[in-house]
């Protein structure tokens, strides 16, 4: 047998591991990051240009630099911080009470079918009802101060938390209950080791929905009737045509929402280490 025999391939010159790039370099090569940044910066420049050329009425829609300047003035003003903390207090108080009452009630209603049957119509009714529509009566009942806002925040978040929690308990996989029963877990252990933990993803969903409702509650409450708070800054700035100050207030609410979502994510990561990556939301 003749014929050209191909030489054995040289040992692969590929390295065993690709050298790792520094993170910022990898980021600059990521299409998603680069195009996203171009999109953001491009829009801000366009907005600024339109504002400077007079195409946009800056009394209503201030330019990005004007908003930044207004922000720089506001953060040096103690009045701004006192308004900010009023809004934060309203948000946290209402949301925390909704959590503290909502999760246990949801767990109980999910666990005891009779309680669920009794509560279910009201839960659905209140969930359908736009809670901010109750503001006029809440303001009369609790006054212009923080209490009417706490009430509307609470009402907003409470049902958003209870309903998924009930759902979570009711959909616990039968086989896990069988395992616990088979090992003769006490009723208490059945609840803490199976029902509670299986329901965590649903509770987290409730927290996420509830937080959005709570934030809407603060904004609406303060816009409608209040003497203090970020919503009041927004309303008064709009009335006095200070578009820059108004949009700065809106920006603060937006950032709060983003931070809140990240906090819920952190809670989620803490409690859901056991879920495969793809199922984490």
């Amino acid at each position: 047998m003749s014929g050209a025999s191909t030489p054995a391939p040289a040992p692969s010159s590929l390295p065993d591991r690709l050298p790792r790039e520094p993170r910022w370099k990898a980021l600059l090569k990521s299409e998603r990051f680069v195009l996203g940044a171009i999109g953001v910066v491009g829009f801000l420049i366009l907005w600024e240009a339109l504002a400077r050329s007079g195409s946009i009425n800056v009394q209503f829609f201030a330019s990005p630099t004007m908003i930044a300047a207004a922000g720089a003035r506001e953060v040096q003003d103690p009045g701004f911080w006192s308004d900010f903390f009023i809004s934060l207090t309203e948000f946290l108080s209402g949301f925390l009470v909704a959590i503290v009452l909502g999760i246990p009630l949801g767990l109980a209603a999910g666990w005891f079918p009779k309680l669920n049957y009794a509560l279910d119509p009201w839960l659905n009714f209140f969930n359908a009802l736009p809670r901010v529509a109750l503001l006029p009566i809440l303001v009369i009942a609790f006054g212009l101060g923080i209490w009417s806002k706490i009430a509307v925040v609470f009402l907003g978040a409470f049902f958003a938390i209870v309903i998924p929690t009930v759902q979570g308990v009711r959909t616990v996989d039968r086989k896990y209950l069988d395992v616990a029963t088979s090992f003769r877990a006490s009723r208490r252990l059945l609840f803490t080791s199976v029902v509670g933990l299986a329901t965590v993803p649903f509770i987290v969903t409730g927290l996420r929905l509830g937080m959005a409702r709570a934030l809407i509650g603060v904004v609406t409450g303060e816009l409608y009737a209040a003497t203090e708070g970020l919503g009041v800054i927004i309303r008064r700035s709009a009335e006095t045509r200070q578009g820059d100050r108004m949009l700065f207030g809106v920006l603060i609410f937006t950032l709060s929402g983003i931070i809140g979502v990240e906090l819920v994510r952190a809670v989620e990561r803490r409690f859901q280490k056991w879920r495969p990556e793809g199922f984490r939301r």
Partner: protein, 265 residues
């Protein structure tokens, strides 16, 4: 009192239930009498839907029987029985270590001690080094190893196994069968094993009980006289193949009877 030397004794166990849609009373298990000696490995095979899993759930106390008695020897220490459930019944929110220790936690053993006592069983099933993994990080075979360790941790008199390898691929299943025999001889337990795989039942067992189509009853009690320890190659020996053939004919005969008996409409 249960007879000396028996681990489990079932007498005249019947199970019927009301069908939710038709309202008729249906018989799931007709009449089952079984004696299992201590240390014996007994399998129940039968066509799907014959009530073999139902019977195991009755033994385990998850379902009530309609008639009859089941007696299990009361051990001096440990539990009377523990169940190895079908695929993926590990708690996904617990690590392997917490899952294996769960039975002891249920008995009120403090967490630290329960985990300490779980460790030898984790070693026995070959999961050392995986204590802190979550179930989703394990293969199907490893999940069932953990599942087995969880049942063994409570030191049961009799180990109930409900088609534990049904969802595994063929190669992993064979490997797990061999592993189960090794663990069984090491742990010295009585086993009641439910399966629809004939070769699995013969390979593992001292006795194979063949169940009829629903309503289930025991058709034949077959002693498996193959020597132990058994290698997987034994599945190709003439004696093995002959027994498998016999059981297969019993079960397929059931399926045909079923077809003939069912109304043609």
């Amino acid at each position: 009192m249960i007879e000396q030397g028996l681990a489990l004794s079932a007498r005249g166990v019947r199970m019927s239930y009301i069908d939710q849609s038709s309202g008729d009373r249906l018989l799931a298990i007709d009449r089952i009498d079984i004696d299992i000696r201590e240390g014996e490995f007994v399998s129940i095979v039968g066509p799907s839907g014959c009530g073999k899993s139902t019977f195991l759930k009755i033994v385990n106390g998850l379902l009530p029987s309609s008639e009859g008695t089941i007696e299990i020897a009361q051990p001096d220490h440990g539990r009377d029985h523990a169940m190895v459930f079908q695929d993926s019944s590990l708690f996904p929110w617990y690590t392997v270590l917490s899952n294996v220790a769960y039975g002891l936690i249920c008995q009120g053993v403090p967490k630290k001690e329960a985990q300490k006592r779980a460790q030898p069983l984790i070693d026995m099933v070959g999961l050392r080094g995986f204590e802190n993994k979550y179930p989703y990080q394990l293969s199907g075979g490893m999940q069932q190893r953990a599942n087995l360790a969880r049942a063994l941790t409570v030191d049961p008199e009799i180990l109930l196994m409900d088609e534990p390898f049904a969802a595994l691929d063929a190669q992993t299943r064979e490997l797990m069968q061999a592993e189960l025999l090794r663990i069984w001889s090491e742990a010295n337990k009585t086993v009641l094993f439910i399966t629809h795989q004939i070769d699995e039942a013969i390979y593992l067992s001292d006795r194979v009980l063949v169940m009829s189509a629903r309503p289930g009853r025991i058709l034949e009690d077959i002693r498996i006289d193959l020597p132990r320890p058994r290698e997987l190659e034994i599945k190709r020996s003439p004696a093995f193949v002959e027994m498998a053939d016999h059981i297969w004919r019993l079960i397929s005969g059931q399926l045909q009877d079923d077809k003939l008996a069912s109304p043609s409409a």
